[in-house]
Symmetry: C2
DNA sequence: ACTTGACCTTCCAGTTAGTGGAAGCCCCAT
DNA sequence: ATGGGGCTTCCACTAACTGGAAGGTCAAGT
């Protein structure tokens, strides 16, 4: 299977797959013409990567998860640790964004949004405290 | 005022301030010895930048906001537009993260987290659908 | 006067996770 | 044999810094 077909199957751009090979996440064989030859196994791995990335795991998380995934003896506790750590990060990020949203929506609410120059948003950003 | 003091006053790393000068956000004068000489005005601008960045505005947003901030004739509607657009982006991001969090916390909940290899998290990431 | 240490300068490289594009093979159909 | 699409590598670029090297400057202490 060439890279185009593999990309189709895994739902990733070909460029991304080449990048994943660069950084050692997949190691497809090569045809005699130099084309990458993807096995079902590779496509499966790529699909796994796509899903994990969509869940916001970093590439390094993915590398770890992939190793655990390929290790039939791994303990589910190890995976759970990575997932929980990631869950914490997500929750922190949500909280940060919610606080930004609250501040910003207060500012937008208080801003007349008309032609006059007085603007609470800029005032708030610029106030010397 | 040297860069260290300005950094202190604005609550930004000196490196970041040099970077902001590089990209044209601030233009401090120079002493005869080549040191940057920050005026109160510059520090005020840097503080503004720090706050806007903390609210998640991109550098380009900041450039626009700064221009509006320095333009005493600007319409508050222009500022409001930028802020509202940004607010939308934040809300989208929050929704994405919440969906990730929900998926992930389901997975973590279902994972025994013990010594056995069976792991719903990896299963879910790797299932051939 | 000299030295030490803190602070300043510039410049280069690296970070994350790719994306865009150029130059050049390869393969298949007409 | 020629045209179009797919494939290859390599280089540069993105955002917003951060780290570090090599070297100049300043103020204090001896």
């Amino acid at each position: 299977m060439n890279i185009g077909e593999a990309a189709q199957a895994a739902g990733l751009p070909a460029k991304t797959i080449r990048y994943y090979e660069d950084i050692g996440l997949v190691k497809p064989l090569r045809d005699t013409n130099g084309y990458r030859a993807f096995q079902d196994h590779d496509v499966h791995k790529l699909t796994f990567l796509g899903r994990a990335r969509a869940l916001g795991f970093t590439i390094e998380d993915c590398r770890n998860l992939l190793a655990l995934w390929e290790d039939t003896e791994r303990a589910s506790a190890d995976v759970r640790e990575i997932a929980k750590e990631h869950l914490n990060q997500i929750e922190t990020k949500i909280a940060d964004l919610e606080s930004m949203r609250d501040t910003l929506s207060d500012l937008v609410r208080d801003c007349a949004g008309d032609d006059r120059p007085n603007c609470p948003i800029l005032n708030s950003l610029g106030d010397v405290r």
